[in-house]
């Protein structure tokens, strides 16, 4: 009898713990989307797939990233060439850091001490903002206006791309100086990276202008080592995006898969890592047009929930974000957001 009671108590305890864990999971992640042709940033709760917060007052927001403690949200502001600092809980703008030029995308160093910002106005640069003081600490000259920047998985380098110069520049984050470059055939657009078993950076996966696929750059040799072409599609012409056939690429948090947006196929493709085998795809929403055939959603960016279960894609032409179940490749939600949603990022709350 007492044994049965003990088993029942144990079962109840497990259920209680599971119930406690549910809201904890729900509270641990938020998906941030900058509405690039508007003045807002939409924040989605990935448990309900609803917009739970709208940050206002930032005209033409571009990149979005976070302090390590999750209390601050950093947003590059194209209309005023500043880095806006936002209180995560209230959504209020609490600081503005003037930058050396017109900013594009941003990243935060792994130690949480600096925001790294691409400067897109000529001649191009990387701005470093010190998070403790919220001041511009350094402007690193580079060869070409910059669009996107990332911190390598090991945290040692910043990797920045230039559309105009068709070049990747790698900066040592200890010395804050460029250490190597690689020139590609087309303008460098979004990138992502995977890691070796020891945590060092393995490869950079790069989307370039006028190529419907991605380029693979070996980090150790600094060389292009492969190209992977995506399956063809019929979109892109009406959307005037044939020169940018793909935009948005990301490695899942578990490092096992690579996800690649296609504007031409109006879809996202999943590849296995490290062997780069095509696993499948998910179609994205269509845009209805008066008197014309529907056009594509013009997918722009990718982010994931920390548990790898859902991938989120910003659809710039349809003012929405698609939530796709990574196991079934089914679109589980289309979430309305603001005007031309582009950069998208996941905040994992401590």
């Amino acid at each position: 009898m007492s044994r049965i009671l003990r088993v029942r108590r144990l079962g109840l305890l497990q259920i209680f713990c599971a119930l406690l864990a549910l809201p904890a999971l729900a509270a641990t992640a938020r998906i941030y989307i900058t509405n690039s042709a508007g003045d807002t940033i939409s924040v989605i709760d990935p448990v309900t797939n609803k917009v739970v917060q709208v940050i206002k007052g930032i005209e033409v927001p571009h990149g979005v990233n976070f302090s390590r403690d999750g209390k601050l949200v950093f947003i590059s502001n194209e209309s005023e060439s500043v880095l806006d600092v936002v209180d995560q809980k209230s959504g209020a703008i609490t600081g503005r850091v003037p930058l050396s030029g017109h900013p594009n995308n941003i990243a935060v160093t792994k130690d949480g001490k600096q925001v790294v910002i691409c400067i897109a106005s000529a001649p191009g640069a990387i701005d470093i903002v010190d998070i403790a003081t919220l001041k511009l600490a350094k402007t690193i000259p580079v060869r070409g206006p910059l669009h996107n920047v990332y911190v390598t998985p090991d945290g040692n380098y910043a990797v920045a791309g230039s559309v105009a110069a068709k070049r990747i520049t790698v900066v040592d984050l200890k010395t804050l100086a460029p250490v190597w470059e690689v020139d590609l055939e087309g303008g460098v657009r979004p990138m992502t990276m995977d890691a070796n078993a020891d945590g060092s950076t393995h490869r950079i996966y790069v989307q370039i202008s006028n190529y419907h696929g991605f380029v693979v750059v070996d980090f150790a040799s600094h060389k292009e080592v492969a190209r992977v072409k995506l399956p063809d599609g019929e979109f892109g012409k009406a959307e005037w995006r044939l020169g940018t056939p793909t935009h948005g690429i990301g490695v899942s948090p578990d490092g096992k898969t690579l996800w690649v947006n296609s504007i031409l196929a109006n879809a996202v493709f999943e590849y296995s890592l490290p062997d780069l085998k095509l696993m499948g795809h998910a179609s994205l929403p269509l845009v209805e047009r008066k008197g014309e055939a529907p056009s594509g959603a013009v997918p722009e960016w990718i982010t994931f929930t920390p548990d790898n279960k859902t991938v989120y894609i910003s659809n710039s032409a349809s003012r929405s974000v698609s939530a796709i179940d990574t196991a079934t490749l089914k679109q589980v939600a289309v979430i309305p957001v603001g005007e031309v949603p582009k950069r998208i990022n996941t905040l994992v709350l401590p």
Binding site: K290, E339, V340
Partner: protein, 160 residues
Amino acid sequence: MCRWTAVLATAFLALILQAGSARLSAKPAPVAHPQSPAADSATPALDYEFFKARVEPIFLKKRPTHARCYVCHEEANHALKLAKLSPGNTTWTEEESRRNFAMVSALVTPGDPIGSTLLHHPLAPEAGGDAFHSGGRQFESQSDPDWMTLAEWVRGQKAK
């Protein structure tokens, strides 16, 4: 019989001359949008004063939830390239407005609002606009008051 031959010969000659004249005066055709109706038969002139008083302010206007046209199109690498405002100014100088007028005029087909890139591109696709504008759906419908002002200018409306 001779009279009919003369009539036919005259008509044939007239057709030849007309075709030749059309070839001589041929200019690159403007890009026609799929839904563009035929432009007005008499091509109206674009009025500078109307442009300055009514059209230019639209480029600087902040519409709720939208970025201003000027923010993205200021000296930008786009078809619509607006003059940069002089430091401290909230509107364009006469010289800057003249430059804007020349540049924006190249993006319209006088008499044909929906066939004009200026009006077609930022109009919502659901309302007959382009599939995608990186500046978003600035005008949700052809009834938007600002869109209608742009259309008035393209139809040749003069400043009062």
